[in-house]
Symmetry: C2
Subunit: 762 residues, 2 copies
């Protein structure tokens, strides 16, 4: 069954048994409206080709030079409310909080050739097409839409490194396939650095693009093969680049096989019969056009669209089947497997079939004993996505850690990734959370990466003094607010990260480093003001900052979260934090207020990442700093409040509709929260072996581990009302407390939650 | 002995015996004034590092957008009349007629840091230094100058891939070494595409630059090592390139090890003691910074400046010693060996020590069984430079041909090089003269390149219809003047090139292609107008063009040569041409007039490549199309006029002074003419086995061939007055006629010219 958007209404009463085709429960349109920042296009799991429709051409900056806030909605190129498509591009982020990419926009058209996407210079219609969601469908590895303006049916599928287009044309003696090298997600005029196209023969084109966007020095190469020779071709250049010194010796714009410049749109002309299919294979490489050709030949040597579509669907099923769930209703099935789907879209594979990849140093490296990955949105994904990988895909997480260590070795800053993509560090957000990913893997005995190197990399990263106030953090034992923005958030995150480093040191038997970083792990205490009972920005003179509003998100020492939310970020020492903040009862009251208070509009105006859609009271689920908070009741006397809040969040913050994500999916973090919480546990402290128990919303689940074992989770008496956990047993033995150990988890067997509509107050 | 410029006066009376240190006779300053376009800097033979002072920062276009004719004088970055140096750059063309390059300008300074070369924004002096020729010296592989503005002595030497600087500083607590990534030879504002710098540690910097100049898509990578750690560093960016999305999180301009953008100038700060030497090694690579580091480590692992200087001098001596001459005076020795030197500056090696190089397709290739070369100024160099290589360096010429064939295989146009440099085709000038280089090698049994591939490449190149009117040339059997500029020049050159292809076909036993191209080789006849006795532009309707002035160089169907000169370009069928033009007597009269007539100023105004300095009457020696002309008397009844004209040209068009080159050296072509003619013979028809005999100006010479044999040339009774050749004997046997066969030449022995002050009219 394919989802078309009109079918996406939640079905709240139907319960279905789990079939083996899990892709039927994936709806790629979920979250494509508003701020989910996901895309509906075709991709293989963790594929470096993510081929998706682009519905608008939005300038990042308005004509007055100011940032255009509308651009933010287009982080993944697609907004569900749009009724136009300007083409299909091969790279897109999934759910991120900033953007880039959009490489190699391809658009089929008929009739007079138009090379502007929205509007021609003389005001006529651009090459976009209108479309309707009735004639649009998507499923894992497949996307289709009717391009109404041209009578063309567009279908696409993909392997890891190759996008496969199939265009069914009407009869036309003036059909075109446009290759737009100008288009960028987050377009702005100067983003392209260079583009280069070679028409190798009448059906093969190669080239590359260099951009200076979020990734400052990014290269993407391609090889593009057509199933039918083009009749003629050409390009238009939107800048003045001299080719041959003083004067041009040929008409380089028509049927001239070498094109280069900053901004180019190429076109390929065809005659088509009614219903004729023209297929296009577009292989990518970060290395070279030669690499793209290798990828093309290795992954899609033939022209069998259905075969590739079927094989990619099977790849998805294999990924989705790692957790088999049965839910109360079909809507939850869709939410769960769409979350599983979204948790397989980053990080992405970033190497050619022969293992060659572009490194952070812009040299070409070969992955030795691992698959190289990129797109590390770590401030988001260290929380639950990488821990999820440690449960169901530890060998992939091992490769991701090896990719991070390679990044470290290539980094002139001698740093692990902060937020890295496509051989670049974009430095987005704070902390150095690679160390959390590493510590979590080590705590859970995941992977065979070099532990000594990991420790060295972690320590090196935590001592780069010019990065985000680290020097001051080391000197003052907190980040002084007068020296650095987001001083409290930084202090809290660094302290947590330092605890992770202490755990890495412990695992490698380095007790002096363990002690050193355990000490740094307590620096969070230095930004707590006992007088007001909140974390509070402290100045370099040791006094706390005046004029402080703990409800405000910006300019108050925090970033993307106010003191009420972000101020609870001490996952490494939750008990200590609670004591520090006045003890369990006072802390419970703080949490209760957090979830129930009304936050004035003024606190969320002009705030891209924190919107009412993603809030419960003052608690923000639509952004990451609070993702652990619902579970903190477990450390008070009221774990039942964790259970009820978790179930409330599962039900209200995730819905199987196009508006179903309450905030950016953030490269899978939001989805990973859903998956864990649906199963009844959550990694509150990555880097430890422990999960906090919550309240599952599945009726049953089977998790298949890579060690060959499986864990069956049964939620007895599960229902919409029975949100409380009466007891939990593991292989028949009652679990005490609210923690679950990873080693126990992956030893497999059966875990039974007894559900109830009354809290168990023990 | 080092040349300093004040010592460069010709010494007309001194005769010296040839010593084994031939470098003493090389004066790199010859031709550095006016239009020689050569540079005085330090380089190894055929080195890809050509490290030379840049004396000005000239904009290619004036503020009104018009081409700045002064820029042309700076093709090699240096003009002898200047009294300033703005730095030392590592890539320069030698003698070319257009330019590019100038990569990685390095300049040492002291005092307040200034990062603009000529003038600061507030009108103060830029970072240039004044210098005087008294304190400047150059010899093969070595250049030194006192930078008077700073009290710094700058010295440099080079290996093939690494430039080695040695700066002797005064005492200073504010010394700097500037790395200017903005500077380009033929600078214009938009030439830089991207620059990238990494400070790997306190004494190692890597990076690259991409430019879109004459080479449209050019990359150059570097690794730069300092002998002393810098105290601090930083950069200034002359454009606005966002690094990390919305806002900057560090001060990226000071001590921040990663710099990127379009236009960057970096600086490295030092404290220096009086007389302290700071050395800098700058390795280049067209592949990657990793490649540059490999080159650095392989070629100059240590810090011994004198050792490298001595070794490079020895490399030069080995190259120069291929021909040992004894001349009438020292001035001629200097002219000869400086010509030998200039004939070893292009093509240049273009691969890393491991054989990796960037191909025309922008992919990285590895040379298999050859050394890859670039800088093929073929319209110039096919005439005498490559034939010279076939005499003294056939194995290198073999590698150059293999490089051309690799270019062909990487060319999306399926063409051999026209004028190619640095993995780009710049399409400069007309004809497809790679085929001449190949044919000449095959005629002379040079090399083991793939002959079938060479034939295929030649035929493919000669049939690219969109290149410079080739389609019309094939259809009309001449290039119609109403369809293409330079129609007559093109027709003549294509016909000659086609003859070369016929010779390649003949050598490979392909008689049908031989016939086909012999037919095309006669198309020159189609642009001869017997009514006026000149080659003349013909229109597509078959009529000759009206309003035709055979004295004019431009807009008359010719390029860089008028009909009087260029119209004699039928080297493949000289006898037929002479008959066509009215027979030997009439042709002799034409030549006589050519050398003696006065050409009105209006014909050479605004003409960069044809100046009075390079002219004898209407004969132009300062540019290539006429280089064979002095030898054409050999095909008339007056070979003695060849002898006298050749001696006149040797004496007047080449002088051992800074103004000693009468036109662009053109990558060694002008110098190769000198070398051949000095020895008494010249390759009038490359692609044949024959040389035309002239009149040597050496007293004795020994040519050492790669086959182990040597030829001693003796000019008996040689003097300034005895310019006529009475007889020539080869190993005791009198030579009949005016030709010399290559096979005879390289069989070695002794060739004796009997010189006389009266012509031998037999």
């Amino acid at each position: 069954m394919l989802f078309s958007c009109t079918q996406n209404k939640p079905e709240t009463t139907v319960s279905e048994s789990v079939s083996k085709d899990f892709t039927q429960y994936v709806n790629p349109f979920i979250g494509t409206s508003k701020m989910g920042h996901v895309f509906p296009g075709a991709t293989a799991p963790f594929g470096m080709v993510q081929l998706s429709p682009q519905t608008n051409f939005v300038e990042m900056y308005n004509e007055d030079g100011k940032y255009n806030p509308e651009a933010y909605e287009y982080c993944a190129g697609y907004q569900h409310r749009d009724s136009t498509i300007i083409g299909f591009s091969h790279t897109n982020f999934s759910g991120t909080g900033h953007s880039d990419l959009g490489d190699f926009l391809v658009m089929p058209t008929t009739g007079e050739l138009v090379l502007q996407p929205l509007k021609t210079e003389d005001g006529k219609k651009g090459f976009y097409s209108t479309f309707s969601h009735d004639k649009e469908s998507a499923s894992p590895g497949y996307y289709a839409v009717d391009l109404d303006s041209y009578g063309i049916k567009a279908e696409m599928t993909a392997t890891e490194r190759v996008g496969f287009h199939q265009y069914t044309f009407p009869k036309s003696d003036d059909a075109h396939i446009i290759l737009d090298m100008v288009y960028n997600v987050y377009y702005h005029d100067n983003k392209n650095v260079w583009t280069f196209i070679r028409v190798e023969n009448d059906s093969l084109v190669t080239g590359y693009r260099q951009t200076k966007g979020w990734a400052r020095t990014r290269y993407e190469y391609f090889a593009m093969q057509f199933s039918k020779p083009f009749r003629s071709y050409g390009h238009k250049k939107y800048d003045k680049i001299l080719y041959n010194g003083f004067y041009r010796r040929f008409n380089e714009f028509e049927n001239f096989p070498e094109m280069a410049g900053k901004n180019i749109r190429a076109f390929f002309n065809f005659d088509t019969n009614e219903g004729e299919k023209i297929k296009v294979k577009m292989a990518l490489s970060a290395v070279s056009t030669e690499g793209a050709l290798k990828n093309l030949e290795a992954e899609i040597p033939e022209w069998d669209f259905e075969k590739v579509k079927t094989e990619t669907k099977q790849k998805w099923n294999n990924k989705l089947a790692k957790i088999e769930v049965e839910t109360i209703n079909k809507g939850d099935m869709i939410s769960f497997y769409t979350a599983m789907y979204h948790a397989c879209l980053s990080p992405i594979i970033y190497e050619d079939v022969d293992g060659q990849y572009r490194g952070l140093d812009q040299n070409i490296h070969t992955s030795d004993g691992f698959t190289n990955y990129t797109v590390f949105s770590l401030w988001d994904t260290y929380r639950a996505l990488h821990p999820l990988f440690n449960v169901i895909r530890p060998s992939q997480n091992n490769d991701m850690i090896k990719s991070m260590l390679a990044h470290y070795q290539q980094s002139v800053h001698h740093m692990l990734p902060i937020w890295s993509h496509y051989a670049n560090e974009n430095w987005c957000m704070i902390g150095y959370h690679s160390v959390s990913v590493i510590a979590d893997a080590m705590a859970k005995n995941v992977g065979d990466f070099d532990k000594e190197l990991a420790l060295q990399a972690a320590v090196s990263t935590a001592n780069v003094r010019y990065f985000e106030g680290i020097g001051d953090y080391i000197d003052y034992k907190y980040v002084p607010d007068d020296k650095s923005h987001s001083s409290v958030s930084k202090t809290l995150e660094y302290a947590y990260d330092d605890w992770c480093i202490s755990q890495i040191a412990k695992q490698t038997g380095n007790s002096s480093l363990e002690r050193e970083y355990l000490e740094r792990a307590e620096y969070y205490k230095n930004v707590y003001d006992p007088k007001i009972g909140y974390m509070r920005p402290k100045l370099s003179d040791g006094t706390f900052r005046k004029n402080y509003d703990p409800l405000d998100t910006y300019g108050q020492g925090f970033i993307e979260g106010n003191a009420w939310n972000y101020g609870l970020y001490v996952p490494q020492e939750i008990d200590t934090m609670i004591n520090m903040m006045g003890g369990k009862e006072r802390f419970t009251e703080h949490l209760d207020s957090l979830f129930t208070m009304y936050l004035d509009d003024k606190y969320i105006e002009n705030n891209e990442d924190i919107t009412r859609d993603g809030m419960i009271g003052n608690y923000v689920h639509g952004n990451e700093p609070g993702h652990h908070i619902p579970y903190l009741y477990n450390w008070t006397s009221h774990p039942e409040k964790t259970q009820s809040r978790v179930r409330m969040i599962l039900e209200t913050m995730y819905r199987p509709t196009v508006e179903g994500l309450c905030g950016n999916d953030d490269a899978g973090q939001m989805s990973a929260w859903y998956i864990f919480s649906s199963l009844g546990f959550y990694p509150v402290t990555p880097g430890s072996q422990y999960y906090a128990l919550g309240s599952p919303n599945v009726k049953e689940a089977v998790i298949h581990f890579e060690n060959g074992k499986s864990l069956k989770i049964v939620a007895k008496n599960q229902s919409r009302e029975n949100i409380y956990v009466k007891s939990v047993s593991f292989n028949g033995e009652m679990l005490k407390g609210t923690n679950l150990n990873h080693n126990k988890l992956i030893s497999g067997g059966e875990m039974v939650f007894e559900m109830s509509n009354f809290p168990n107050m023990k």
